[in-house]
């Protein structure tokens, strides 16, 4: 059958099953709500629900997680914009311009843009995913080996070093700190424990959820608390003015560019939506004639980041379903759902369970569309959180973050790690370092080291081997040029 007929079959199957409908809408609303509540995220919800999926069919379990993925990535933008607290790392670049927009009284415009662009990015991505899973997966799988993925990680980090910090050096120090945190735990080749300081907890590495909550949610509370304690706190200005259609049409190139970037990044195993959002944002800056306005509340920043991260959600399903390789934390949990039902994601899923695949594809398509409908309604209510005085909102956010950090693994030490990261984030941010850079380094650190080790083994430890592979060579040269260009700018160009 052709993809369109399969899609129709998947849609009919999805909406003719009352339990399926219930799970679909539960996932849509749950993902949006958990994404949009400061302190917890779609990952918290997914971690809480994971054990319960054993009681669902594989079809319902995977569909639930895929719907949460789509709507949760959008929901995380709300807290990024309203409170400078990204619901997930893929929403971090959204905060760069979204939060300044809130401070300028344009919260509604920023959230409205996030709603529109998340829906557009996600829906287009879902359509491409349905139409081209097989050929794209074949191309990506054959063209992207460990050297290319390492080169892409290197390029992504080189780009991210120029975003979010006060100076290029602080950008690199932020990323390197994140990469060093990722080193803690077992080494990916020999399983040798590193920097565990004889603490069993550190053997499994430092989990990224408490770290993200600490660096973003907790440090933001501390920064605002300092402002309040010293009498310079200003409550964010409330507005529910959504962007006009003309404003969105004016950014059509940014939307198309971010869809391409998002889809491309999402399809690569282990890269996922986080790098997509960073690269979408950075390319928006690079292509803009008004680069200085980024970071001060520019709508294009929100549009680029949110389109790219939702465009990555559909694409991330391709390596998961075609190869069994998760692209991020939530897709990794989906592997867990498959395993709970004695299944392994991979090419055989397409042969053995085509119903499952097409129900999931149809659910993702409609979940992205529902962002447009439910998102506007939700925004009108969620935005009112800004009306709560900070002294009452702060303990709520801190306790939600506590529950979010604890719920992932049931370890109190994760809560301690979160608050340590919060204090560290507070001191680093006031010195001009980028907490988003630290988090990106932490997330890409493991895959970076793993693919580097695999690449070096593949290339028989010949560094020049990277340059025998066109895509890897192109990405490494682009990364080196980015680094060289930013060093040149730092020292020789007038600010």
């Amino acid at each position: 059958m052709d993809p369109f007929s399969n899609f129709i079959t998947g849609t009919v199957t999805l909406f003719s099953d009352p339990l399926g409908i219930l799970i679909f809408f539960g996932g849509v609303i749950g993902g949006m709500l958990f994404g949009a509540i400061p302190g917890v995220s779609m990952l918290t919800l997914a971690a809480i629900l994971l054990p319960f999926t054993a009681h669902l069919s594989a079809e319902h379990g995977i569909m639930l997680f895929s719907v949460i993925y789509c709507t949760g990535v959008y929901g995380g933008a709300i807290t990024a914009i309203l409170f400078n607290i990204p619901g997930a790392p893929e929403n971090a670049p959204t905060a760069f311009d979204g939060y300044p927009m809130t401070r300028n009284g344009q919260a509604g415009k920023a959230v409205g843009a996030a709603v529109m662009c998340s829906a557009i990015g996600g829906t287009v991505s879902a359509v491409i995913m349905m139409a081209a899973t097989a050929p794209i997966a074949n191309w990506a799988i054959s063209a992207f080996g460990p050297p290319e993925i390492f080169a892409l990680v290197f390029f992504g980090l080189a780009v991210a070093a120029t975003v979010g910090a006060r100076t290029l050096w602080k950008g690199w120090l932020s990323i390197l700190l994140g990469l060093m945190i990722a080193v803690v735990g077992m080494d990916p080749v020999g399983g040798i424990e590193r920097y565990d300081f004889d603490m069993p907890y550190l053997l499994a590495g430092i989990h990224f959820i408490p770290t993200i909550l600490g660096f973003f949610a907790v440090s933001e509370i501390f920064v605002q608390a300092e402002r309040k304690a010293t009498g310079v706190y200003e409550a964010p200005k409330l507005s529910v003015n959504f962007p006009s259609v003309a404003e969105l049409i004016a950014h059509k190139f940014a939307v198309v560019r971010s869809i391409v970037i998002g889809f491309f990044c999402g399809i690569l195993p282990g890269i996922g939506a986080t790098l997509a959002a960073f690269m979408g944002y950075n390319e928006a800056v690079r292509w803009s004639k008004d680069r200085k306005a980024f970071g001060t509340g520019k709508l294009e920043g929100v549009i680029s980041s949110e389109t790219a991260n939702n465009a990555a959600t559909g694409a991330a399903m391709i390596p998961l379903l075609a190869l069994g390789l998760p692209g991020g934390a939530l897709t990794a949990m989906m592997v867990g759902v498959f395993q709970m039902h004695d299944m392994e994601p991979g090419p055989l899923v397409f042969l053995n369970s085509p119903d499952l695949v097409w129900v999931v594809f149809a659910a993702m398509f409609f979940a992205n569309l529902s962002i447009l409908l439910v998102g506007f309604l939700e925004t009108k209510t969620i935005i009112n959180l800004l009306r709560i005085p900070f002294q009452f909102l702060a303990p709520l956010i801190l306790l939600l973050a506590t529950v979010g950090a604890y719920a992932v693994r049931g370890l109190v030490i994760d809560v301690v790690v979160m608050f340590i990261a919060g204090v560290a984030g507070f001191f680093l941010r006031r010195s001009g370092y980028s907490v988003a850079g630290i988090v990106l380094g932490l997330i890409l650190g493991k895959i970076g080291e793993q693919t580097f080790a695999q690449a070096m083994q593949m290339l028989h430890f010949e560094w020049t081997g990277f340059f025998d592979r066109p895509i890897a060579a192109l990405l490494i040269v682009a990364a080196l040029l980015t680094v060289a260009g930013s060093i040149y700018s730092a020292f020789f160009r007038k600010n």
């Binding site: 002294q391 009452f392 702060a394 006031r430 730092a490």
Partner: protein
């Protein structure tokens, strides 16, 4: 000294000391891997070298141009309010840092209190619990004394205290006190509003996570806090 300030020197020393410390620690896992000639230390040591290079680059840059942002960087850090808040609050002098870090040590003293006492006394499980029950109020009094001169330091330390005590005293006993503490530190003084906030937040959290989603929150392991937690969980579920 160019345009250097004491803070710039401290920053460079911090990064270089961190790199040196982690380099020395890397000898603990300096073992070869048969199929991988860089071993377990290759990647972290390369990163540490880059940390040292970036720290020196930052130092050199600050020597030449001071605190200016570099051209070619974009994003939020200089506009997200953190640096501005630090400037406006004036919390960047040496004494403030010493006072803040003195406060921040207290939760870790609580966490290691049984080890510290254990150096002088043999402690069984009951003994450890007794030490914790004595250490908690003593360190809280020290916290209150030190916090009087350092409001922001107190705000930074309170969540760490809360986290440090979660394992022993549990979420159910500590969370209401934590809410009251944070609300007070944020400047709220009306008792009825503080009580209402604590009741509402606890109600929402317990209903959503414990009653609806069956999330097991820390119950503590010291009586009577442990018993209280179990009683609350039984009541809710």
């Amino acid at each position: 000294m160019g345009k250097l300030r004491l803070g710039h020197i401290c920053e460079a020393v911090f990064w270089l000391a961190l790199a040196a410390f982690l380099y020395i620690e890397s000898f603990d896992f300096d073992r070869g891997i048969e199929i991988y000639k860089f071993g377990a230390t290759g990647w972290p040591r390369a990163l540490l070298l880059l940390v040292a290079v970036a720290a020196m680059g930052q130092f050199l840059f600050q020597f030449v141009v001071g605190d200016k942002a570099t051209s070619g960087t974009v994003g939020a850090a200089s506009d997200d309010g953190a640096e501005e808040a630090a400037r406006q609050s004036g919390h960047s002098h040496f004494r403030w840092y010493v006072s803040t870090f003195s406060l921040l040590i207290l939760p870790f003293l609580y966490m290691r209190s049984h080890d510290l006492v254990g150096m002088f006394l043999e402690l069984d499980k009951e003994g450890i619990h007794s030490v914790k029950l004595i250490a908690a109020p003593v360190l809280l009094v020290v916290y209150l004394l030190l916090a009087r001169g350092n409001h922001v330091g107190a705000i930074l330390t309170l969540p760490l205290f809360f986290a440090a005590m979660l394992e022993d005293l549990g979420f159910y006993s500590m969370a209401p006190l934590f809410i009251v503490g944070v609300t007070l530190l944020m400047g709220e003084r009306r008792p009825q509003w503080i009580a209402l906030t604590a009741a509402l937040i606890m109600g929402v959290l317990l209903f959503t996570f414990v009653s609806l989603l069956y999330v097991g929150l820390p119950t503590g392991n010291i009586s009577p806090f442990y018993d209280l937690s179990h009683w609350i969980v039984t009541m809710i579920q």
